[in-house]
């Protein structure tokens, strides 16, 4: 389905300027105490070597090695954080406590009970963010965080553009939002809805827990092995992952394009034989065609292949990301939204 007018306005703001969004699905847990890092080490499939202010992208796996949470783990001043997406915070806290039952001296705080998340995304989001939240934002590298008296900021994002998640105390939510909107007027800021953010994530091949994450696929099938340590042996789901690596896997998620609208679960065929299925798909206003993720069997699971069909619609696999992000060409040291026409 093509984006609604409202979603498309937000989409273009993300791709060319700045967009703000409220993110009710994002969860943020703070783990405090002397054993906070031990807790992360116990539950995460990645190596927990975190420097102060650093974030790391990983997953949480069930006993079958299937991801049920798409998270960053972060550390700042000996407090650790889990930021990301999962069904709900209470279930996650219960799961962590169960898994970390031999560890003492830690406490988990659900920050979303006291805070509200405002996202800023776009090639010039760094510029507006530094005006609204302070110039320290400019010095934040990708995958780092900063905690101040007024807010906590995580530099991440799922759009392929510069992205920031600001956690502000709930009582100050409206004043921060007003500040973002009023100072954002000079950047023609727009609000991005969930559909716009989801389309950007799809174009950049970011894992979507609520879409392809609902098919019960392993990190290998999802091309997310980089979120797991190659050396760590003990974490929830480790034996299942070891087993999959040993026996191998015969299907993999790949990026594809289609000239026409298709639906999740549509069968993909080659010479009349089923070779896979559509997992997710959305219209890309920048490309002018549909971009999707498909699960294809070996040996059809490569990018750069055509001759595949969904009903009578030809589809072609491509390498991700499906677009060239403007943020690749924008530098906080050389560029500005206000002189973008001259400098880019």
């Amino acid at each position: 389905m093509k984006l609604s007018k409202e979603s498309e306005i937000g989409y273009h703001a993300i791709r060319s300027g700045v967009a703000f969004s409220e993110d009710p699905d994002l969860l943020c847990l703070q783990i405090k105490g002397d054993s906070a890092l031990d807790v992360l080490d116990k539950i995460c499939p990645c190596d927990i070597f975190l420097q102060n202010g650093q974030m790391k992208h990983t997953l949480l796996l069930d006993d079958n090695g299937i991801p049920f949470a798409d998270i960053y783990v972060c550390m700042e001043d000996f407090n650790t954080y889990i930021l990301g997406y999962c069904k709900n915070a209470d279930t996650l806290i219960e799961w962590i406590n169960f898994r970390a039952n031999t560890i003492e001296d830690y406490a988990i705080i659900d920050l979303m009970k006291t805070h509200f998340c405002i996202n800023l995304d776009g090639p010039y989001s760094w510029e507006l963010a530094s005006e609204v939240f302070g110039s320290d934002i400019l010095s934040l590298p990708y995958l780092s965080m900063l905690e101040t008296n007024d807010f906590i900021v995580f530099r991440g994002g799922r759009t392929g553009e510069y992205g920031y998640h600001f956690l502000v105390p709930k009582p100050q939510k409206n004043s921060w939002l007003e500040k973002v909107k009023s100072q954002g007027a000079a950047y023609k800021i727009k609000q991005a809805d969930k559909t716009a953010l989801s389309q950007c994530a799809l174009e950049n091949f970011f894992f979507d827990l609520y879409k392809e994450g609902s098919y019960g696929l392993s990190p290998m099938e999802l091309q997310l092995q980089w979120r797991l340590s190659t050396q760590k042996n003990e974490y929830p789901g480790a034996s299942a992952i070891k087993n999959i690596k040993k026996t191998g896997w015969n299907q993999r998620m790949v990026c594809f394009i289609s000239p026409e609208e298709l639906n999740p679960n549509d069968k993909i065929t080659y010479e009349g034989i089923e070779i896979g299925q559509v997992l997710s798909i959305g219209y890309s206003p920048i490309r002018g065609d549909y971009v999707g993720k498909a699960l294809l069997i070996k040996p059809y699971w490569h990018s750069g292949l055509d001759g595949f069909y969904v009903n009578n619609v030809p589809v072609k696999t491509i390498s991700a990301p499906s677009i060239t992000n403007l943020s690749l060409k924008v530098s906080p040291y050389r560029n500005s939204y206000h002189t973008r026409k001259e400098s880019i």
């Binding site: 992208h57 091309q223 092995q225 050396q231 080659y270 040996p299 990018s303």
Partner: protein, 98 residues
């Protein structure tokens, strides 16, 4: 399977494996080729490489595949393992036509 597709798949698999092995060897990665998914990003997330690694990758690709890569081409190709393979394929085709 049509011979044309079969050739494409074999060529892609071959190049993908060569690029994976080159990355492991040049960057001393603690992983097997199968653990490097084709859509693994090279910088920040994924392999978490830096600008020095970027130079190493380009130099190694040029040597391994006997190709020449411009700065602009490298900017677009240095995104994922698959995008490196795409660049090598384009460059090899260019070499064939010269």
């Amino acid at each position: 399977m049509q011979p044309e597709l079969k050739i494409k798949i074999e060529q892609r698999e071959n190049l993908l494996n060569r690029v994976r092995k080159m990355l492991i060897s040049a960057l001393h990665l603690n992983a097997s080729p199968e653990e490097l998914d084709p859509e693994t990003t090279l910088f920040a997330t994924g392999l978490a490489l830096d600008s020095v690694d970027a130079v190493v990758i380009i130099v190694e690709l040029e040597a391994e595949f006997n190709i020449s890569i411009s700065e602009e081409e490298s900017m677009l190709a240095l995104r994922t393992i698959n995008s490196l393979v795409d660049l090598v394929l384009i460059k090899m085709k260019e070499n064939e036509t010269v």
